[in-house]
Symmetry: C2
Subunit: 205 residues, 2 copies
């Protein structure tokens, strides 16, 4: 995935196609999306898409990278903005679950997961997102412990990894229309685990 040098405007154009592809993928599914769909979404002709992305796999990769980054950035920024360790933890939990089935970024992120099976490039993206999310939770836990607000029941990394896995599992069900699991229930489960693991009094308001 070595990037050829591109001008600023070329890069900007590409980003428009990334957004168009994102919407098209959401609409038609990762493997059913046609070049025409992406073109239509971007308001151009199919040839134009190919001109900027001669390799569709590269566009797929960029979409994956983009949703992973956006997902993480929102979380990191929200956590950063929160004051206390407790509210940081609440912020991480709140932003870790897909807001609903209208959550484009989360939906596409889950769609992309499947590519990791067969492409090591996509697997790296997934691993990298996982690592960043674990690191984010870890830092929050460290802060809470350092300030004496949290009493951790397990090693930091274990709690962080469990939180990430838990929200991924819950998110998967929320996005897949599991009617036995509401968003509020998912958040409650996540909060309860966090509460037990940190011994602090956060709420799933």
């Amino acid at each position: 995935m070595v990037d050829v040098a591109r001008t600023r405007t070329q890069q900007a154009r590409r980003e428009q196609f990334i957004d168009a592809a994102l919407r098209a993928i959401r609409e038609r599914g990762r493997d059913n999306v046609r070049i025409r769909d992406i073109a239509t979404e971007a308001g151009v002709s199919p040839g134009s898409v190919l001109y900027h992305y001669p390799e569709l796999t590269e566009l797929m990769f960029d979409v994956h990278r983009t949703v992973a980054d956006r997902f993480y950035r929102l979380r990191a920024d929200t956590v950063e903005a929160a004051g206390s360790a407790e509210s940081k933890l609440e912020a991480a939990i709140e932003t870790g679950l897909p807001s609903g089935r209208d959550d484009e970024v989360a939906c596409v992120l889950y769609e992309m997961h499947g590519l990791a099976d067969r492409s090591s490039a996509h697997a790296s993206l997934m691993t990298s997102l996982y690592d960043r999310e674990v690191a984010l939770y870890s830092s929050v836990l460290e802060v809470g412990r350092a300030t004496g607000r949290f009493t951790l029941s397990q090693p930091v990394r274990e709690i962080a990894e469990s939180l990430v896995a838990l929200e991924d599992g819950l998110g998967l069900h929320l996005i897949s229309n599991n009617t036995s699991l509401e968003h509020s229930a998912a958040k409650h489960l996540l909060t309860e685990y966090a509460r037990h693991a940190t011994g602090c009094a956060i709420t799933s308001s």
Copy 2:
């Protein structure tokens, strides 16, 4: 999904196609599988597949149903066979994670998840599996509590749902080649949570 009446041999033939499709999907991916792949896998011609499954969506549905049932059945049987509540819990955990990337049933099950987005029939299958898994864990927890071996830190249903979500999230990462998460580590996290929630002394041997 009303089934037309079929003879025993017709049903048996269909099951061969389900197995062939399962292998083909594993090989080529849910949306990239061609009729020819399924036919080849079954050792017949494409026309034969269409003869038994005029609607490919029906075959997809049957594959989904089959993997969900196999996955659950193995768990239920293993848990059933275990003696104490502790070993039942260990059995549930052990069978809840994909054994590896060679785990056909688990891999295809995760592939199928994505269909729930757009098909309510598939969403029902997913929900049904979730419900059964939650019920399975719930029953184990009830047994442990009734026999005084478990001291539950949360309502039964919450623990059960958390365990299911946790293993789904962990499984997703294992199947997606997340190099930051080993199978043994996943099992450890699951075990730790179970231990914490039940207050009992199981090990992730």
